[in-house]
């Protein structure tokens, strides 16, 4: 089952690479995505106990992330044919193939129960996404790709070093020389502390770069700004969640070693810093997609902040990864539609989206309200859970900063979003040929419905899964 | 019932007489013999007999003003014990109703002035409502002081308080309050130094300019109402100012009437010896009244047991 989950998208990638027609090729995406989704569903339903010694397994944490990635990919894949039909000026062979390779790599990442294998998978996701960023093949996109690769590679190198440190820490501690998470957690008590801490720092920086925590986030605005909305959605929703998963796995080891408090301190600091940097850079942001990128930085900060607060904050952060992923997808896809209609993503040209594109504009606005934590949308539940965790653990200063930064972000983001959706569109925008249709708004609507659903009702299996994931990380069964 | 009848009789008959007394006092100061003491009655009768002229700009509001200018002071008078220890109507908090009845009349007289569309009457209305914003707190500070000393929240029992005792214990406060109230009385009744009904320069007037367009019965009601207002406010002032309680009801009524006469003469004297102050000084004078009675209250609060 695990292998099938990884191989199906890979095979589909090969198929997509072979299909000659730019028109027909995108149809491979939904087919592969839906089969992956079906396999994921089956895997989640039949999830067994974590077996020792197995390199690829689906545990609760992996289950949550796999479900998220699979759903997000399915949404993007449903959206892709409609979008690519608009972009027939560009060959989409590489795009389609790399999207599927990404899915495969992400699945590998989620399933891997081995520190080294996980690192390989993270590396693979980077390599698979670089060509996606370069889809537009212009000066700006090559610049974005260059920065993405440089910064991500440095991060990945640090993560490798961190993994090595962690390995050396285990080696010094004696015992079985294995990098399987289960073994690492079991033996963690005897690990060499300095190497463990240094390893965690390096892994935090490495995977934090991949997640986009400030000040390691610098590639994000460029990449999200220049990549197609579809790719932005996958990166902001899927890839970052995978990186978060990687970080969580490492955190699980460190916390099993009894260094949880140390790790949480770093996470809280980086989380708040990320929120602050994102908030500052979001103020008076005139580029819609860059604004979304900074919002992603902010929410990555919130995720690690939630982990750093600990307790119920951990479950809150895991839930927030789901909510953030879904909501970001709404925002990026809607922004993509707006970008197409206005042929610009700058506030200088984009205004009156509610008039020009009633549905996409409304979804963009709803996505904004959701991501900033307004009830009744999903992110409210998780953001509130993190706040509750902070307050009930007595960290009032953290709670106050958290709420204050959420307010600043709302101010910054709101000004831009309202400028986009309200007002009157320009003549040129009204005359552009793009029109909303069900293929381009249907997937977004569906996602928004999920975001709303998660705000009003969290299904029992999901709740159990999240509780299991959080419990597993804290050493509870 | 008898009490009510006597009360109404006094309120309806006595007030114009006060105006007569004021007029005579002023005439005496000017060295003239002046009009008869009953001249105000003659004026009213004449006005009620006249026809009237209405501007086509006006609406029903134009008539509602005079009606309430008459009804509200009359209703307010029911709450104030004149000579007798008890007013016909009395309940906890009736002092609020007392003040708000005058406000009601002010609302409609000012609206009636605006109804004519004349900028002069608008100007008068603006001054009237603006200046009473300052008079109102002064009145209330005084009422508070009186309520505090008497330990009661209805006008009847407040004013029936043995004030000779009150003057002994909190004389300083009462002096301040009475002074403040006297200023309010002059301002609310458009007397000199606030207003001068005898000049006919609209630009300088406050109350009087509001009623420029009213004539006949409407004007009669306004004049009648304002004399009742003078009487009622005067009664409030004098009941506190005169620390003479009398056990016999007839005697106390007599004392009361004497007090009112005294007040009228006092107003006449003030009108004779002072000139109208400049308009910009009016608020200052009213703020002074506020401060005086506020200070009275403060003194009392400071020396509270």
């Amino acid at each position: 089952m695990a292998l099938a989950l990884i191989l199906v998208p890979l095979a589909a990638a090969a198929l997509a690479f072979l299909v000659p027609s730019d028109r027909a090729r995108p149809l491979v995406l939904p087919a592969a995505a839906l089969s992956h989704l079906a396999l994921t569903g089956a895997a989640l339903a039949g999830r067994g106990p974590v077996l020792r010694g197995e390199w690829l397994q689906l545990d609760a944490l992996g289950g949550v992330t796999l479900g998220l990635v699979s759903v997000l990919f399915a949404i993007c894949a449903l959206y892709a044919p409609g979008y690519l039909r608009l972009r027939l000026d560009r060959p989409n062979r590489v795009l389609c193939a790399c999207l599927l390779v990404f899915l495969s790599a992400a699945t590998l990442l989620v399933l891997s129960q081995h520190l080294g294998l996980m690192w390989v998978a993270v590396e693979a996701t980077t390599l698979a996404t670089a060509p996606l960023v370069y889809f537009n093949r212009n000066a700006r996109s090559i610049e974005a790709t260059w920065k993405y690769l440089m910064i991500a590679s440095v991060g990945i190198a640090l993560a490798l070093l961190g993994s090595l440190f962690l390995g050396y820490s285990a080696y010094l501690g004696g015992g079985e020389p294995s990098l399987l998470f289960a073994t690492l957690r079991e033996n963690a008590g005897g690990f060499s502390r300095p190497w463990l801490r240094a390893g965690f720092v390096l892994l935090l920086v490495g995977y934090g770069t991949k997640m986009g925590l400030a000040p390691l986030h610098t590639w994000k605005p460029d990449v999200y700004g220049e990549a197609p909305g579809l790719v932005g959605a996958l990166l902001a929703g899927g890839l970052t969640s995978c990186a978060f998963l990687a970080l969580l796995r490492v955190y699980g080891i460190v916390s099993a070693a009894g260094e949880g408090a140390f790790a949480r301190g770093l996470l809280v600091a980086l989380g708040l810093l990320s929120m602050a940097v994102a908030a500052v850079l979001m103020v008076r942001q005139r580029d819609v997609k860059r604004m979304l990128a900074y919002s992603s930085v902010e929410h990555m900060g919130i995720l690690v902040l939630g982990v750093g607060i600990g307790g119920a904050g951990l479950a809150g952060a895991i839930l927030h990864a789901i909510n953030n992923g879904l909501t970001k997808t709404v925002l990026f896809l809607a922004a993509g539609n707006i970008h197409r209609a206005y042929r610009s993503k700058s506030l200088d040209d984009v205004t009156g989206a509610l008039v020009r594109l009633p549905l996409s504009g409304a979804l963009f606005l709803a996505g904004f309200l959701a991501i900033t934590g307004s009830p009744p949308f999903g992110p409210f539940v998780s953001l509130f859970a993190i706040l509750n965790a902070a307050v009930s653990s007595g960290r009032f200063a953290v709670a106050a900063l958290y709420v204050g930064l959420l307010a600043v972000v709302f101010l910054g983001m709101g000004a831009t979003v309202l400028a986009v959706v309200q007002g009157r569109p320009s003549r040129e925008a009204l005359d552009s040929p793009y029109q909303d249709n069900i293929r381009k708004t249907g997937p977004i609507l569906l996602t928004m419905a999920l975001v709303l659903l998660l705000g009003l009702w969290i299904p029992e299996p999901l709740r159990k899964l999240i509780a299991g994931a959080a419990g597993g990380l804290e050493g509870r069964p | 019932m008898l009490n009510l009848a006597i009360h109404l009789l006094v309120v309806l008959l006595a007030p114009p007489f006060l105006l007569g007394v004021i007029g005579r006092t002023k005439a005496a100061f000017a060295g003239r013999s002046g009009p008869s003491l009953l001249q105000p009655y003659h004026d009213l009768v004449r006005l009620f007999g006249k026809g009237s002229v209405l501007s086509p700009t006006t609406t029903g509001i134009f008539l509602a003003g005079p009606a309430l200018a008459f009804v509200a002071p009359l209703a307010a008078s029911l709450l104030v014990p004149l000579g007798s220890p008890h007013a016909p109507v009395s309940f906890t908090g009736d002092l609020i109703l007392f003040a708000y009845l005058f406000a009601l009349s002010r609302f409609f007289t000012a609206a009636a002035a605006l109804d004519t569309g004349s900028s002069f009457e608008g100007m008068g209305a603006a001054r009237e409502v603006s200046f009473s914003c300052l008079a109102e707190p002064a009145l209330f500070f005084g009422l508070l002081t009186v309520a505090r000393i008497s330990g009661s929240l209805s006008l009847s029992s407040m004013l029936a308080h043995p004030w000779s005792l009150g003057w002994l214990t909190s004389g300083a406060s009462l002096v301040l309050v009475v002074a403040g109230w006297f200023i309010v009385l002059l301002a609310e009744n458009s007397r000199i130094p606030f207003d001068d009904p005898n000049t006919h320069l609209e630009l300088t007037m406050i109350h009087e300019v509001m009623v420029l367009d009213h004539g006949g019965p409407a004007l009669g009601l306004i004049l009648y109402g304002s004399s009742i207002k003078l009487f009622v406010l005067g009664a409030l002032l004098m009941r506190v100012a005169m620390p003479f309680g009398a056990p016999d009801p007839w005697l106390s009524a007599l004392v009361f009437l004497a007090g009112m006469l005294l007040l009228a003469i006092l107003v006449g004297v003030v009108e004779s010896v002072m000139a109208r102050v400049r308009l910009v000084a009016v608020p200052q004078l009213l703020v002074t009244a506020c401060l005086l009675s506020g200070l009275g209250m403060l003194l009392l609060a400071g020396s509270a047991p």
């Binding site: 260059w146 590679s153 020389p177 990098l179 | -």
Partner: protein, 212 residues
């Protein structure tokens, strides 16, 4: 003295060479030599080098010592630009910084607990110093090619550290090395090529349009 230490000193020298080189060609060659030297190291550290270790060493040497530097040199020639490096931070300050970093690495490594077989070797300090040199090149040099060189040196630093684990966890080290190389080739082979085509320059200042 561990036999590997001799080679590690060579690695450190290459760091300084790369930092002090004013021409790109020298810089690339320094990285190439460093890579080649490093590829041999596992054979020295390993107590019982097997066939796969041998194959790894050969492959790594070929890639790091020959293929990648060759590609870089070719890219450099294709652009027809001056071969001067034009750093943000001058060569002499770079060298001083490098020396400072190396000293710090020695100090820092001395305070870390080590397995008995690694005590006294240069592996950990050399690794940290190389990492630092890589970072220095990455942050202070203007030309994209030199940045790639910096990245290679950074990678070499990671690789050096891998030596301490080569017996306990060979998989991690081997896979890591291979994939990192893949990235390096990716960056150079494809992206550099595109950059050159788009900008007809490899100056990274041309690559700074996306900003706030």
């Amino acid at each position: 003295m561990h036999p590997a230490d001799l080679l590690l000193v060579l690695v450190l020298l290459m760091n300084f060479l790369a930092l002090g080189a004013s021409g790109m060609r020298v810089c690339i060659r320094a990285a190439a030599l460093q890579g080649a030297v490093l590829s041999v190291l596992p054979l020295l550290v390993h107590r019982d080098p097997g066939w796969n270790a041998l194959a790894m060493a050969a492959g790594a040497a070929a890639l790091k010592g020959v293929l990648i530097p060759g590609l870089l040199t070719k890219a450099m020639r294709d652009v027809h630009v001056a071969h001067e490096i034009e750093p943000y931070v001058g060569f002499v300050p770079s060298l001083f910084l490098g020396a400072f970093g190396t000293a710090l690495a020695l100090l820092f490594a001395g305070r870390l607990p080590l397995a008995p077989e690694h005590v006294g070797t240069l592996i950990v300090p050399a690794s940290l110093a190389t990492l630092f040199s890589g970072f220095l090149l990455l942050t202070t040099r203007r030309k994209a090619i030199v940045q790639v060189v910096g990245y290679l040196i950074l990678e070499n630093g990671v690789f050096v550290f891998g030596l301490v684990l080569i017996e306990a966890m060979p998989f991690l080290v081997e896979v890591g090395v291979l994939l990192d190389l893949l990235v390096a080739i990716f960056i150079m082979g494809i992206v550099l090529n595109h950059i050159r085509r788009e900008f007809s320059s490899l100056d990274t200042e041309r690559l700074a349009d996306l900003k706030e």
